[in-house]
């Protein structure tokens, strides 16, 4: 069950954002795509989540080209993935409705109606998976609270629980701890490792090298829409082969612009 992007390229408004990028994740592996902000990490995750078709290259699940399938067949594969965004993007509904959303859309319309009626009569009916997912992020006490009234950190944890509850084969996590304090960052990192140990393939996009070191089995360093090098975190961060990786590791590269606009890596000006 390897999810792969092979030689994928994509652009927006005439700007090339990804150029011939290849990454893959095996079951039970954490791959962190690391690089400065605005280098195409989110775009790569969105391609892997099948939000859009790459302009060239393929997204495959084992040997199945997912964009060669019909919409219906692709939906079956899409439902084996889950994604957490940098912004939690929760719905204006109680936490339990947010976490059960993915499960509800996987049911037939008649089952959805029956569940809706059951909930209307007897309150929320949660599966073990939902309770476990909320337990993992320590938010079982927020079950009935409206998701829009949560703090940024709580919302991010609910977004993670929502993805975890789907029991996916592959999780795509875009800066999953950007809103979290150190304690909750540790909770989420532990949850990511626990998912990996259950055989889930995890791809994390992060600009945080230390987190990449803690989390990853492999790191792909991305710059200017290209994967510069891939390897174990120890090797990438301690003895990078590409001089651009070395400059990033040494804190000499900074980034300007946004992901879908004109982005350029620039040398950081030397301190006076």
């Amino acid at each position: 069950m390897t999810l792969s992007a092979t030689d994928v390229s994509v652009g927006f408004d005439g700007q090339q954002v990804l150029q011939s990028v290849s990454v893959d994740v095996e079951p039970g592996e954490v791959l962190t795509v690391v690089g400065p902000s605005g280098t195409g990490k989110t775009t790569l995750l969105r391609l892997l989540a099948l939000f859009r078709r790459p302009e060239s290259g393929t997204i495959t699940w084992n040997d199945t080209d997912l964009w060669a399938l019909s919409d219906e067949e692709r939906l079956r594969f899409r439902r084996r993935l889950s994604m957490v965004f940098q912004e939690p993007s929760l719905f204006n509904a109680p936490v339990h409705r947010n976490v059960t959303y993915g499960m509800r859309v996987r049911r037939s319309w008649s089952e959805r109606l029956a569940t809706g009626l059951r909930e209307f009569v007897g309150g929320p009916s949660l599966s073990d998976r939902v309770e476990t997912a909320l337990e993992v992020v320590g938010l079982t006490d927020k079950l009935d609270q409206n998701a829009l009234s949560l703090s940024g950190g709580e919302a991010q944890r609910v977004a993670f629980a929502r993805a975890l509850a789907l029991d996916p084969d592959v999780m795509l996590l875009d800066e999953p701890t950007s809103n979290l304090d150190p304690r909750n960052t540790a909770v989420l990192e532990e949850a990511i490792h626990s998912a990996r140990d259950r055989g889930v393939g995890v791809i994390v996009a992060s600009h945080d090298m230390h987190q990449a070191e803690r989390l990853s089995d492999r790191v792909a360093f991305i710059l200017d829409g290209e994967v510069v090098e891939t390897g174990p975190p120890g090797r990438i961060f301690e003895s990078p082969r590409d001089p651009r990786t070395a400059r990033f590791v040494d804190g000499e590269l900074m980034y300007e612009g946004d992901e879908e606009g004109g982005i350029q890596a620039t040398e950081r000006s030397p301190s006076p």
């Binding site: 939906l75 889950s82 993007s89 993915g102 859309v105 009234s149």
Partner: protein, 234 residues
């Protein structure tokens, strides 16, 4: 023996109740059909890019100011015996009034719904898609997120329909059966009749009933919206 404050035409309260029923039946049906039509169209316009999108939006907004008598005239021409839909025999029926109210309510409903669904951010749609939602599921999430704006749109459409007089007078004919029961007479058209005959006090009573109906419907909408605000801050 105390004289009644107002003396209705033939049929008394039967007459009044029948015009209330016709008013509500015509307006609620028109607004219901308009909602079923406007919501999917608003979603389609909001979330697809096509050439002329801004022009289409401008036309919808312009439609909010359609003069109702012109709409009535066009609908009557279309439904009259010599018109393209004359064979349906709908001229001077409640169905013709529903058609004209549908045309008047739709731009209001669509324009306000469009603003409401456009306000639902792309991240929410992306989240629904990423959780395995089909395009229909994503559309339903957007409708649910925009529910309070959509309720406002429905109320605005209902307000436009129930208070309308020009077009339904033309296409409905303001008909009352000989027993005093309304066929196509509504509260608004009844008020014009009473005013023309100088029976202002009866016109005023009908006006108060009309206002009460609008108040009840809007009060219901406000209650639903306030319930939503309560949910958010819970």
């Amino acid at each position: 023996m105390v004289a009644p404050l107002v003396q209705f035409a033939d049929g008394g309260w039967t007459y009044v109740i029948s015009i209330i029923v016709v008013s509500l039946k015509v307006s609620l049906t028109a607004v219901g059909l308009s909602t079923l039509f406007s919501l999917p169209v608003a979603l389609l316009i909001a979330f697809t890019d096509f050439p002329g999108k801004r022009t289409v939006t401008a036309i919808i907004n312009t439609g909010m100011g359609f003069p109702s008598v012109v709409v009535g005239l066009v609908v009557l021409m279309a439904l009259s015996n010599s018109g393209p839909f004359g064979e349906l025999g709908l001229a001077f029926t409640p169905e013709a009034m529903i058609v004209s109210q549908f045309i008047l309510a739709t731009p209001v409903l669509m324009s306000v719904s469009l603003s409401a669904v456009e306000a639902v951010g792309k991240p929410v749609r992306d989240a629904a898609y990423a959780m395995g939602g089909t395009p229909v599921d994503v559309g339903l999430v957007v409708i649910k997120e925009a529910r309070y704006g959509i309720i406002t749109a429905i109320l605005a459409g209902f307000g436009r329909a129930i208070s309308e007089v020009g077009s339904i007078l033309i296409v409905g004919g303001n008909i009352v059966f000989s027993g005093g029961e309304s066929y196509t007479r509504t509260l608004t058209t009844a008020i014009t009749v009473e005013a023309r005959q100088g029976r202002y006090e009866i016109g005023l009573v009908l006006g108060v009933i009309l206002l009460a109906l609008v108040f009840v419907v809007n009060g219901l909408g406000s209650w639903i919206r306030s319930k939503g605000r309560g949910e958010r801050s819970a």
